[in-house]
Symmetry: C2
Subunit: 340 residues, 2 copies
């Protein structure tokens, strides 16, 4: 009645051959065992009947689904759409479909998503939700499900991933601020269970220490959100109001900082320069246009998918943590160190 009504047997009947011949003729990997003439006839018949394969049947038989899972915290966070698009375009080009789940940073949801995806026989998983110590990663290893981390990594090694050279980004940020004459620089650090939050905070302190500058003007947040950025800078300002620049762990956090400053009558960048991280959409149009560290979101997704596909297809590769270079985008939220 609906989709999938036409099967390989219908095509076989039309051509007058056994359905296994049709199967072979239609499969690129086996069609060379079939006479070119036969292949042509089968193709034509399939076309004529509007046949398309029932993937559930193929999945059941082959125990592979040509589907890849993707775990993200929240599609509505602008960091993720470009990553997913990169994954999707790459996967699709190889005939794979993507199953995405939003986990909202909730371990129960992550677990549920993994089970759902396992039930759907995904061939591999891309994980954008990793904590430094991650139960999902552990399960993948235990179940021998191929996976690739993206954006965030884990503390254990021997994993595949595509992440950012966070130290490079933070150093570029600090060099920029230092060159603008900033002497006291604060950090709104992200959650330390995330490698991005952790590495940015560590790089921040290490580099300032190296420069013989104050390195402990740090406030930690629980999430990479506007609300947390807002709260954090207020706390920071209530302790110390003599810093002239703030490095935020993410763009959303940076926006929260700017919101709080506005409320307190502080100008950005005149009173305090603010730098974000990630370079999500529309930052150049904001007021002020936000200086940030741009990470190659689409490419990271594309690379992660490429690696996962190699893993899935059994191509031998050493576990590799690919660190992609970010780029500082200087806009209008940073300027020479000012006074209050």
């Amino acid at each position: 009645m609906t989709n999938g009504k036409i099967t390989i047997r219908d095509v076989a009947a039309l051509v007058g051959v056994h359905h296994s011949t049709v199967s072979r003729a239609l499969n690129p990997k086996t069609k060379d065992r079939i006479s070119p003439d036969m292949v042509r006839k089968v193709d034509k018949a399939a076309e004529k009947l509007g046949y398309f394969p029932n993937i559930a049947a193929a999945t059941l038989k082959q125990n592979r689904s040509f589907a890849l899972g993707v775990l993200i915290p929240d599609l509505m966070n602008p960091v993720f759409p470009p990553i997913i698009r990169g994954i999707q375009d790459t996967a699709e080009a190889k005939g794979y479909t993507i199953l995405t789940a939003n986990t909202d940073d909730d371990e129960t949801k992550e677990q549920g998503a993994l089970n759902m995806m396992s039930g759907r026989s995904i061939d591999g998983l891309i994980i954008a939700t990793a904590r430094r110590n991650d139960a999902i990663v552990d399960k993948c290893i235990e179940r021998e499900l191929p996976f690739v981390l993206v954006n965030r990594t884990v503390d254990r090694d021997g994993v595949n991933g595509v992440i950012v050279d966070e130290e490079f980004g933070i150093r570029a940020t600090l060099d920029h601020l230092i060159s603008l004459g900033h002497k006291r620089i604060a950090h709104i650090a992200g959650p330390q269970h995330s490698s991005t939050g952790y590495e940015r905070a560590k790089s921040f302190s290490d580099y300032l220490t190296l420069q013989n500058m104050e390195s402990d003007l740090v406030e930690y947040t629980e999430k990479f959100t506007v609300a947390d950025g807002y709260r954090a800078i207020k706390k920071l300002l209530s302790r110390d109001n003599q810093f002239t620049a703030v490095v935020a762990a993410s763009d959303l956090t940076a926006m929260g900082c700017i919101d709080a400053m506005q409320e307190l009558g502080l100008l950005c960048p005149e009173n305090i320069s603010v730098v974000g991280n990630n370079d999500i959409i529309f930052l150049a149009r904001m007021n002020p246009a936000l200086t940030t560290v741009s990470i190659p979101k689409y490419d990271m997704g594309a690379q992660a998918a490429k690696i996962l596909l190699e893993l899935v297809n059994g191509e031998p590769r050493e576990p590799l943590l690919l660190r992609m270079q970010p780029r500082l985008m200087v806009r209008n939220s940073t300027s020479r160190a000012g006074n209050y």
Copy 2:
């Protein structure tokens, strides 16, 4: 070796019953035919073995996949993530999974996506890519695949959809501009093959005519993009530079207008007020903060999914085009009519 190794038969063996009993005990719809005691034993055994059902097998047998397809133009366009999240949350709560495809407004890709999804036995489809005359919609009807339109509708009737009361939005926009003293208002119209572009343009002209105002300061674009908005307002300004307000077909188009104005040394809103449509993310943070018509993106997705699920589960319903009310968000890109 990997996922899905444990089957219903393993559970059956552990309990010491036939696997059909296990199947029935595990299925909420049939478990009432099994003794409560048996159900408990099966549940425990399944839990112990870490069993989860092979959905491909169930799909093959039942000819339903508990998967819903979603067709969007491009995930990276900020209009869509909230819609998808609405769909996803609603579908997931009922045990359904979503398959999303980006079609980039390309009919060939749409077709390919539909075939892929049909191969995966989707139970229904949500279409956010509809043209007023849409081949995919026609195919769904022909194949009796349940579908729901979202955001954009088609000219033929008898379809289900969740869309926006575009006329209401445009009238609110025009009332706002008129109340600010604007006498000559232009429209950067979207593509007319899309119901949103078409209805907005029609509502624009109709309402201004009704108000005895000029209604033909209109320039059409091919896409709802920044680049098209940029080009369109430049064309418009080269013909006529005496209008004081522009209603753009979308927020991206509006941004293109503002970019072009900036380049030409025109201020927004001082010289020309600009209004967008959709209320995508971060508009309130822009420079200037963009006045726009806000459409309930998440809710539209959620509603569409709800309706599709009813359709899929055979609940009788008259075809319904649900028109949701948008809301004018007045921000800083509109002000009293000024002069050049």
